[in-house]
Symmetry: C2
Subunit: 452 residues, 2 copies
C-alpha cells in the first residue's frame, strides 16, 4: 500500500523496495545497528518533497533524509522504519552568484562536486569533514572538519535555506544578505537539526576565495598534552592558521603500517597556513621558532605541493588505518572543550584508553578544542564492547563537566542522545518544545537527538 501510494505520488521510477536499495539506506559509516526503511524514494524537486511530507504527516509515517551515507552517528538510519528520502537526484547546482560569492545548491550536491564546479572561478568551499558528504547532510549535522579553525562550521556558511516543514509549508530560513537582524535566526536553528525539524530542499552557501599561497608543516612532541599546549601557543599568537591537526604516536604507527609510510612515530601536529606568499613565509618561520622554543622533537616544512599532499596523507588515512581490520569494530568520541582544558582532556583520554587495554588513537581538530578518540574492539566480546562504550561515556562526561560538548562535529544522531540531558539540562525542554511545535506528529527523523 505504502509503495503503491508513493508510486502514485512521485512516479514509479522514483520509488524502490529493492532489497539492495533498502540495505544501502539502512546504515551509515557508524557502528550503529542498521535498520532497513520500508521504502526508499528519490524525489527530484521541492514539490515532490511537499507531496511526500503531506502524505507522511497525514498517515503518520516516519521520513528519514538520506545523504551520502557518510554520517558517523546514525542520523540516516530509519530506526522507526518508514520512508528513506534519498537526495541522489536532487544534486543540481541551482545558481552561482560570482559577485556575491554565494551559491545555491540542492541538498544532494556533494562537497567535491561543488568544489569542482566553483574552483575554476577562483572560489572554494572550505568545509572539509573528510568524506565526500552531501551538502544537505553536512548542514543537517553542522559538520566542520579540518578548516573550522579558520572558517568555522557549516552554520557559519549557510545564508539561507528552503525548508519543507512537517505541515507541508515551504519556508526560507534566511536571506541573501551577509548579515541580518530581522526576526529570529532560523538558519542557525535548522542547521544541525539532523532532519528533525524540516526537510531541506535548497541551501545557499557563502564561498571563499582560493588562497594565493599554501604552506604545510609538521612537528612532533613527547606527549599529547604538549601538542595541545603548542596548539594553544599558536592560537594565542594570533597567527592566522587554516588547519591545526593532532595525531598521536600510536595513530601515526597505524598509518605507517597501513600505508607503508615512514612518518616519525611520535605525537604530531600538522599545520597549514594560507595567504599571500610573503605573509605565509613569515608566519611559518615564526611558528617554527615558537615550536622549537617548546622543544618540539622534529620540524618539517613541505616545500612543494607533492610534499604537502604527502604530509596530509597521514591525517587523511587515519580512520581507515583503524577501520580496515576485519572482524573488529571501531567506536569513538567527538568531544570539544575550551582550549585551556584540551591538554587535560587529551591526557585523560590517553590514560583511560591505556588502562582499558584497548587499542586506540587520538587525533583531531586541536585548534578548535575538538578531538576524536578511536577505539578498536571485538564486537563479539561483550567485555570489550562494554569497555569501549564506557571509554566514550567517560570522555564525554569529562568534556561536558569542563564546559565542553559531547559532539563537536558529528552530531547527536543515536550515539550522543544519552549525553543531551547532562549537557543541556533545562535547555533540553526548550529544544523538545521546538521539535513538538514544528513536528507535532513526530514524523521527521523520529528517534534521533531526544528520547521520547
Amino acid at each position: 500500500l505504502l509503495f503503491e501510494d508513493l508510486c502514485q505520488l512521485l512516479g514509479k521510477e522514483q520509488v524502490s523496495c529493492n532489497e539492495s536499495v533498502l540495505y544501502r539506506h539502512s546504515k551509515d559509516e557508524s557502528f550503529h545497528t542498521p535498520v532497513k526503511p520500508n521504502v526508499v524514494v528519490f524525489p527530484r524537486h521541492t514539490k515532490e518533497i511537499v507531496k511526500l511530507v503531506e502524505y507522511a504527516n497525514k498517515h503518520r509515517i516516519p521520513l528519514v533524509p538520506f545523504g551520502a551515507g557518510s554520517g558517523l552517528e546514525g542520523q540516516a538510519i530509519p530506526v522507526k522504519k518508514g520512508i528513506s528520502i534519498s537526495f541522489e537526484q536532487m544534486n543540481q547546482i541551482v545558481e552561482l552568484r560570482l559577485e556575491d560569492m554565494i551559491v545555491k545548491v540542492q541538498p544532494g550536491v556533494t562537497r567535491l562536486q561543488l568544489n569542482q564546479y566553483i574552483n575554476k572561478h577562483g572560489l572554494y568551499f572550505p568545509i572539509d569533514p573528510g568524506a565526500d558528504a552531501m551538502i544537505g547532510g553536512m548542514v543537517a549535522t553542522n559538520a566542520s572538519g579540518t578548516t573550522a579553525v579558520r572558517y568555522g562550521t557549516m552554520r557559519n556558511q549557510v545564508l539561507d535555506m528552503e525548508v519543507v516543514l512537517a505541515n507541508g509549508n515551504i519556508i526560507h530560513t534566511g536571506s541573501l544578505a551577509k548579515k541580518s537582524s530581522s526576526g529570529y535566526h532560523l538558519n542557525g536553528l535548522f542547521v544541525g537539526s539532523e532532519g528533525t525539524l524540516g526537510i531541506f530542499t535548497e541551501i545557499t552557501l557563502r564561498l571563499h576565495g582560493i588562497p594565493e599561497h599554501v604552506a604545510v608543516a609538521h612537528c612532533t612532541f613527547e606527549s599529547v598534552e604538549q601538542c595541545a599546549k603548542a596548539a594553544q601557543v599558536i592560537l594565542l599568537s594570533g597567527i592566522p592558521i587554516i588547519r591545526m591537526e593532532l595525531v598521536d604516536a600510536l595513530s601515526i604507527k597505524k598509518v605507517n603500517e597501513y600505508g607503508g609510510y615512514d612518518y616519525p612515530e611520535e605525537h604530531s601536529l600538522f599545520l597549514e597556513f594560507t595567504g599571500n606568499k610573503n605573509a605565509v613565509e613569515e608566519d611559518i618561520t615564526l611558528v617554527e621558532e615558537l615550536m622549537r622554543e617548546m622543544n618540539c622533537g622534529h620540524w618539517f616544512t613541505a616545500r612543494n605541493s607533492k610534499e604537502r599532499e604527502q604530509l596530509w596523507k597521514a591525517r587523511h588515512e587515519l580512520a581507515y588505518a583503524y577501520r580496515h581490520q576485519t572482524g573488529y569494530h571501531v567506536t569513538g568520541s567527538d568531544v570539544c572543550v575550551p582550549i585551556s582544558q584540551l591538554p587535560r582532556v587529551v591526557g585523560y583520554a590517553r590514560k583511560i584508553m591505556d588502562e582499558a587495554g584497548l587499542e586506540g588513537g587520538i587525533f583531531g581538530h586541536i585548534g578548535d578544542g575538538n578531538f576524536h578518540t578511536i577505539v578498536v574492539f571485538n564486537p563479539n566480546d561483550p567485555k570489550e564492547v562494554k569497555k569501549a562504550n564506557e571509554l566514550n561515556d567517560r570522555i564525554a562526561h569529562f568534556a561536558i563537566s569542563l564546559g565542553g560538548t559531547c559532539t563537536g562535529e558529528h552530531g547527536v544522531g543515536l550515539g550522543k542522545m544519552k549525553f543531551q540531558e547532562m549537557e543541556h539540562k533545562s535547555a533540553l525542554d526548550v529544544m523538545k518544545g521546538i521539535k513538538q511545535l514544528l513536528d507535532p506528529h513526530n514524523i521527521l527523523n523520529p528517534g534521533k537527538i531526544f528520547y521520547q
Copy 2:
C-alpha cells in the same frame, strides 16, 4: 501595588517610580514615541531576575529590558507599559579566561568597559556599533557595525548565555566549546530576539587578539555606485580588510560643517587593514593600485595614529552631524543586500531622496552590503513626515525584493515590524510559534518584532 510588590521582591532601593527615572526609561535614540514604564527595577543578579519574571508572568505584566538606551528601533520602549528592567547594576565582568580567549559578563557591561578591562591582556572585543552600548543590548539586536566585514556580528561572538525564560527556568544556550553539533542552536535563536524570548543574565563572548599593525586609507569616487563597485573589487580580491565604510558627498559636507573639517566633499570610501606590518603594507599598496585603476579621484593613506584617528572622525561624527539640528528629526534605513545589488540599491536610494527634496545622506558598512540612509525632516510638517516614511519603506521593499533584509544591524523593534511579513513570508509563522511556545502570556517585551 505593583511598586510595593516589587519593593517586597527586590528591596526598596532596587525599584523606582521617580518621574525622571521613568522618563529616562521611556525612550532610546530613535525617533519612536517615548512611553513611560509603570516602574523601573534595578536587579543585581540572576535570582532577582527569576523572581521578577515569575511575578510578572503570574500577574501578566510586561517586562522590558533596558540597556544603555542607545537602540535605534525602539526595542527598549515599554509600549505596553509595565516594568522596565535596567541592567545598570548588573555590570560585572564575571570571568576572563585568557587562555580560552573568552569572557563571561553580565548584560550591563558596556562595550568600552569590556575593552578597557581586556586590552591590557592583548585582547579586544571588536564589535563596534558606534554607541557605547551594553553587551546585553548588543546581543538582543544582533548588533554589528564597522568591523563586521572581518569579525561578523554579535551572533558570531556569543558562545553561551544564561537566560531566564518566561516560566522562570534558567537555561544555558550553548557551552564554552568553540563549536558544537549538540542539540538545537539556541545561541543563534536568542541572539537577536530583542528581549522577546527570555531575559539574558550572563553572556560568554569570544575575544580576539589586538592586531599588531593597523593602516587606514581614504579614497573618493564620482558616484556612490562607483564606491559600491570599488568595494566589490576589494572583496573579490580576497585582501583581508577590517573596515570598509561608505560616506556620500553630502554627508561629508555635513560633517565638514559640523566639525570644521576639510575632507574632500566627494563620495568616499574609508578602509582599514590589520595584520602583521609587512602584510598590511602589501595589502594597502595593492588596494591603492586597484582603486587607481578604477579612477578614484583621491587617495590618502594615514601615516600615523593621529592621522588615522583624524580620518575616522568623519565617519564617527556623521550621525551627530545630521542629528544636531534643533527642531528637526532624523529617520533612516538599515538595509543589507547581496553585494552585487549594492550599487543598484545605493543609486536608487540617492535618486528617491533627491526626488523627495529632503536632506539626506548615505553611509554604512559597504563591505557587508549594509548601509544606512539618514533623512532630516520637520516633525511638525505632515507632508515631510509622510515623505520621510515613504522613503524608508521604498528602500526596505527594494532591498527585500533583491534578496536582502530590512535590517542589517539595528533590529526590528517597532520600526521594522511592518516589513517582517514581506521579508519572512511563511517563516514568520514559525517565529511566532516559537514566541508563543516560550512566552505564552506575552509578557516579554510585548509589541515588538511581530504584530499581535
